[in-house]
């Protein structure tokens, strides 16, 4: 069996292919302790959980323990491949740190208790507050890492049972702008693209999307195209010299916070040079004249100045995009977590729309997600939106949902937009939210301005419930901690960016008394005695498959239609792309074929918002603007970022991620190979900035903003001058402080500012002004990976290697599967 160190080679071996050909199969696997496939007792079908790509895999079980994983050759997403986080990350399931018993706070300390006591405390406090203040006191903050069935049940409990408007997920930090941008342009969420577009595209443009690190297998697909005949041209927009930037035909590295300026300049060139599909625009869009007029004010010369990008590079990128015959555009955090997030992401949509590049092979948009199940948070209504892309400001949609749930329409809050996460924390700060139920996420590390977040979570007057698999920083602040089962220990479905639904089967029992999130939520609903309008229990299912059947009914006839799916259908083969209906029993590869959208006023999910103020449009305004449900071309002017550099704070601080870790490292730091690859926080700066100050690789620096300070060792990388980059993964659970800094900080979010995009409500992590000083000279290089965006400019840094412990198996198939 050919073995390969997948820490050193994150994307594995090349299997080149040409345009329109099938991506060859390559089956990746990793089994612990020198086991071989012959030693495995059984395999359980699932998909990857430590990123958003949704790669099909099988979980290997021996002696009722998970012992490894293997990519599924039949799956349309990955054709057998897996990324480093998938190959090694499952080991966290077996960590001795897992929570195995409920905890409750007694005399200031969290102590072990039994489920009955813990759940009575949770339901009891919730009921008390409902009686005293009503639903406005209750909030739910969930994740992008549970299963569809759990989100749908949570949304039903919160919206249909308790009647609170305060429901959101940490998807607010990762994909809120993806959803918002799609709602602005197409009046509905749902990806107008497919991963197979990579097989056909002749131009792939990645906007603020370091795909090489965030979706390694998808990037592998692009690398294989680049290694084959007639490769696509790649356009990259990123202030860092990422692996994507290195592979790009043209790399634009704009000043952080200037994305709208750059996008408007690209549109200026595309429209000004007539690289527009006029027939498509005339037949299928509204708003073209206003867009054309707006971008007239943004010639490349102006953008070159504001963004600090060479004007000829802007022209070159526009020319490549403008001459594309099959254009795939992808977007991620460089746009979503930056200033004017939605406005910038919408301009990417506008490029594909004015070029008529939608709804056919190679022509698509992927407004990416960060987390594995973020799509389901959005679909099922756990991000505050109503389930199955129903429109909260359309009364007939509320009535229809009330029919499905058998409740009174008045019981479903729809008097205003759902309360987003940042506003929920604000309400908790002022004291009107008094009960916060957090599932599978860690706001005490992932939200901006951590000192503020900790002080909110630690308030006595806030009853904090945390349901998780480890004692995270957030869990340490809780009143009750509920131990949950995770991937591999429970059954459910989840859906990736390109609408592919996978079934994830239970492989082993959870540790100790840990329980599946679905069981805990249903228990909560029963203890609250939530009922429908006929007095029957509100939640009518008791297991995942029952919840899935309920969801099928709820989604029937809506854009994300699952009615043609079943657990049986998802077993054995590949994942399947929604919508899946009687008419399309095998799923739907491309939506928006022939310019047919879901934007008709009575059907659409959203009437849109003002891109600057965030004010929602009402039904009458939308109907006047777009009576026949076309794509909406929305223009946006550039606004300077809110926090600008100054003499005191001369650097622009951006935060981000690395290939080897996921979120706040609760799982990846417990996988030895991943932890060893990126063991400690670092800060990236350009060689010119370091050189001007006489700083060297590995020096200990302090990064300071008005909100806090962090210490990190310097990695001199290919980042643009004037910018400092900190990975956001590193918190305190494996530090002496436990839930907060003990001495100096290391979480990047000590420094970030509380500000968000008014349209998507996504917090801004990529425009803060910071001061950087040197505390001490280093005695060696920083611990940043060398294989990724943090690649050092100097040759003296030893390369990142996993060694024998990271040797995975890679089997190249002879001849193509599908």
């Amino acid at each position: 069996m050919p073995r390969i160190d997948r820490i050193a080679e994150p994307w594995g071996s090349r299997t080149p292919y040409g345009p329109g050909e099938t991506w060859p199969v390559r089956v990746d696997s990793y089994l612990a302790d020198g086991l071989t496939e012959d030693d495995v007792d059984r395999w359980a079908q699932s998909a990857t959980i430590l990123h958003s790509n949704g790669d099909g895999l099988d979980i290997a079980v021996k002696d009722d323990r998970i012992v490894g994983v293997r990519g599924r050759a039949v799956d349309r997403v990955n054709h057998g491949r897996l990324g480093p986080k998938d190959l090694y990350g499952w080991q966290a399931n077996n960590s001795p740190d897992r929570l195995t018993k409920p905890l409750i706070r007694r005399d200031g300390e969290l102590v072990e208790t039994d489920w009955d006591t813990a759940m009575d405390a949770v339901a009891g406090r919730c009921r008390e507050l409902l009686d005293e203040q009503g639903p406005s006191s209750i909030a739910f903050y969930t994740t992008g890492q549970l299963f569809l069935e759990e989100y749908y049940t949570l949304g039903l409990i919160a919206h249909g049972g308790i009647g609170t408007n305060h429901v959101d997920g940490n998807t607010r930090l990762c994909t809120a702008t993806a959803a918002a941008a799609l709602k602005e342009t197409f009046a509905c969420d749902g990806q107008p693209g497919s991963y197979t577009d990579i097989d056909h595209a002749d131009v792939i443009a990645l906007y603020g999307h370091n795909m090489a690190e965030t979706q390694t297998v998808l990037w592998t697909r692009i690398l294989d195209r680049l290694a084959g005949p007639n490769p696509p041209q790649v356009v990259c927009v990123d202030p860092r010299e990422t692996p994507v930037a290195r592979a790009a035909t043209v790399h634009l590295a704009p000043r952080p916070g200037t994305n709208v300026m750059l996008m408007n300049a690209l549109l200026h060139e595309i429209i000004g040079n007539g690289w527009v599909d006029r027939d498509y625009v005339d037949a299928h869009t509204v708003g073209f004249d206003e867009l054309a007029k707006r971008v007239e004010d943004y010639p490349p010369e102006v953008a070159a100045e504001v963004c600090d990008v060479p004007v000829e590079d802007i022209r070159k990128a526009a020319r490549i995009i403008g001459h594309a015959r099959r254009l795939l555009s992808t977007v991620l955090q460089g746009f979503y977590q930056s200033h004017q997030a939605t406005a910038a992401a919408v301009q990417v949509n506008n490029i594909n729309v004015v070029r008529g590049m939608l709804g056919r092979p190679g022509c698509g948009i992927l407004q990416m997600n960060g987390q594995p199940t973020a799509q389901n948070t959005r679909e099922a209504g756990a991000d505050g939106d109503l389930p199955a892309f129903r429109n909260w400001s359309n009364d007939s949609h509320i009535k229809d949902l009330a029919r499905v749930w058998n409740v009174d329409p008045m019981d479903i809050p729809h008097y205003s937009p759902p309360t987003h996460a940042m506003q929920m924390f604000r309400y908790a700060e002022e004291g009107s939210i008094r009960f916060l139920y957090v599932t599978a996420t860690n706001p005490a590390v992932s939200l901006p301005e951590l000192a503020r977040i900790r002080s909110i979570l630690a308030q006595d007057r806030l009853f904090l419930v945390v349901q998780d698999i480890f004692l995270s920083e957030t869990a340490q602040l809780a009143d009750v901690v509920l131990p949950a089962a995770t991937w591999g220990e429970k059954t459910g479905t989840f859906t990736n960016v390109d609408r592919t639904v996978h079934l994830s089967e239970k492989a082993v029992d959870p540790p100790g008394e840990a329980r599946p999130d679905l069981d805990i939520l249903i228990d909560f609903a029963h203890r609250l005695d939530l009922r429908d309008k006929d007095g029957e229990p509100l939640v009518k299912w008791s297991d995942p498959e029952g919840a899935f059947e309920g969801w099928k009914e709820c989604s029937k006839g809506r854009p994300c239609d699952y009615s043609g799916l079943s657990y049986d259908k998802l077993r054995g083969g590949s994942g399947i792309q929604w919508p899946v209906t009687e008419e399309h029993p095998d799923g739907t590869e491309h939506i928006y074929v022939d310019g047919q959208f879901w934007a008709e006023p009575s059907y659409c999910e959203s009437y849109g918002r003002d891109l600057v103020t965030g004010a929602p449009l009402d039904g009458t305004e939308y109907r006047a603007l777009n009576p026949s449900g076309r794509a909406v071309l929305k223009a946006a002017g550039y606004l300077p970022p809110h926090e600008l550099v100054s003499e005191e704070f001369p650097f622009q601080l951006i935060t981000g991620r690395t290939l080897y870790h996921f979120h706040t490292r609760t799982k990846t730091a417990r996988a030895p190979q991943l932890q060893a690859a990126a063991p400690e926080v670092w800060v990236e700066m350009a060689a010119s900035d370091a050189g001007d100050r006489g700083w060297a690789e590995g020096d200990l620096l302090e990064i300071r903003t008005p909100r806090g300070r962090v210490e990190a060792r310097l990695r001199i990388s290919g980042i643009r001058p004037g910018v400092a980059f900190l990975p956001f993964h590193y918190g305190y659970w494996d530090q002496p402080g436990g839930d907060r800094p003990d001495g100096h900080g290391r979480a990047a979010n000590e420094l970030t500012l509380t500000d968000w995009d008014p349209c998507s409500k996504q917090p801004i992590f990529k425009t803060a002004a910071a001061a950087v000083t040197r505390l001490a000279a280093g005695d060696g290089p920083s611990a940043a990976p060398t294989t990724t965006g943090s690649r050092p400019v100097s040759a003296d840094v030893p390369p990142t290697r996993g060694g024998t412990a990271a040797e995975a198996v890679e089997v190249l198939a002879q001849g193509g599967a599908r």
């Binding site: 406005s136 309360t419 940042m422 002022e430 004291g431 809110h642 968000w756």
Partner: protein, 160 residues
């Protein structure tokens, strides 16, 4: 012709609206979206002030193209107070009152633009009409923002 009067009145009311928005921003620093968006859209009124002063010259007016000043020491104190009292429930009610005020002021400015546009059409003053057509939509967006924000904030402030 009383066109000069209409321009002068708009110059005054836009200046006032900008000040109101900045003051609301300062009073609600702990409500981050209000703090930032109110500042962003105060910038629209300030731009209108400059444009009105420029066009005013054609009508023999001598209007200050500089918008009235940035907040002074009093407003800085209000920002600090807002942070300090961010833990108390009353700011929610104060915000409702402030948004109502913004909406009323913006509605007044909107009517002023209507008047100016009508007069410009009647007097066939193309440049003035173009200015009204360019600026008035901003005022409507300011109104819509205050309205939407009020609607969004009302429930929690009033039922909690």
């Amino acid at each position: 012709m009383k066109l000069g009067l209409a321009i002068e009145e708009l110059h005054r009311s836009e200046n006032h609206l900008a000040r109101v928005l900045l003051a609301v921003s300062d009073r609600h620093k702990a409500d981050h979206e209000v703090f930032y968006v109110a500042r962003d859209i105060a910038g629209w009124s300030q731009r209108h002030v400059t444009e009105l002063a420029r066009v005013g010259g054609d009508f023999g007016l001598d209007l200050d193209p500089e918008p009235e000043g940035e907040p002074g020491i009093l407003e800085k104190i209000q920002q600090a107070t807002s942070d300090l009292f961010g833990r108390r429930p009353e700011p929610g009610l104060l915000l409702l009152a402030d948004l109502r005020h913004v909406h009323r002021e913006a509605a007044g400015v909107s009517l002023d633009w209507e008047l100016l546009a009508q007069a410009a059409q009647g007097a066939r003053k193309r440049e003035l009409l173009a200015l009204a057509e360019r600026c008035h939509p901003d005022t409507l967006r300011q109104m819509r923002w205050a309205n939407a924000k009020l609607k969004e904030s009302a429930t929690q402030a009033l039922v909690s």
